[in-house]
């Protein structure tokens, strides 16, 4: 079963390379496009974890709705061309990546020393819309679901309040 491992390695490489390219790009539009690639490969990683519904929602909500919002604001504010900014935080730009690499190595050591990570998955069932819906709309998760609906309403009203010139 090295096919699974090869697929995982390919997706992980695409994710990491596009993530690094995203924070190295000067142009915000390019950053946004690299972020779309990262989101797609994370959706494919969700598929390798048998979470089909989450993968579909990832593509629809993140790569669809949220990225459209980002591109829209970049175009609206005319930030497509990078401006040379006088940077007062020069040491930060050198220190940040170094500390980031150190942090990743530290986390990898901690994770690989955990006892949980060596087992195979407990079951092989796909988690589709049926299972998600049965859990979301029954006693366990219905209350958080309602709270999130209120949160989304508040966010929509708040965004209009913030961005509108005159109410």
């Amino acid at each position: 079963m090295t096919g699974q491992l090869l697929l995982f390695a390919f997706l992980a490489a695409v994710t990491i390379v596009c993530g690094v390219a995203m924070i190295l790009a000067d142009n915000p539009v390019r950053s946004a496009l690299y972020l779309v690639l990262v989101l797609f490969s994370v959706a494919l990683l969700f598929l390798t974890l048998h979470a089909v519904f989450i993968a579909a929602v990832q593509i629809i909500v993140y790569a669809g709705a949220i990225m459209v919002l980002f591109i829209f604001v970049i175009m609206l504010l005319n930030l497509g061309t990078p401006e040379r900014i006088v940077d007062r935080l020069k040491p930060q730009q050198a220190l940040g990546p170094i500390l980031g690499v150190v942090f990743v190595i530290l986390l990898a050591f901690i994770i690989s020393s955990l006892p949980t990570g060596k087992h195979p998955p407990l079951s092989n069932t796909l988690v589709g819309p049926y299972e998600i819906g049965m859990n979301l709309f029954t006693a366990n998760w219905i209350f958080p679901f309602e709270i999130v609906s209120i949160l989304l309403l508040v966010a929509a009203v708040g965004a209009v309040m913030l961005a509108k010139k005159r109410i």
């Binding site: 079963m1 995203m22 979470a51 998955p121 966010a155």
Partner: protein
Amino acid sequence: MPIPLDYYLILSAALFTIGVVGVLIKRNPIVIFMCVELMLNAVNLTFVAFSRYHSDIGGQMMVIFVMAVAAAEVAVGLGILVSIFRNRASINVDEIDLMKG
């Protein structure tokens, strides 16, 4: 043999760190927002991986809620950016220092 859980956890740790470094070194608030989205996605990957390997659907429920909160956060954040841009004609994070933070 299937892929160990460790691989997914290390991948999402690396993604999260890329997001953190991006927040630290970028000066454009829109790109900073994108890095925050990247961090949220890394956490979602951890949730889904644990959900599969421990056969507990609660992780995927949390992913749905994280996505809803991320959508709300992006809408409000970009609204704030638009109103800052309207008032100051610049959204460089180094120049937004009215609160002297």
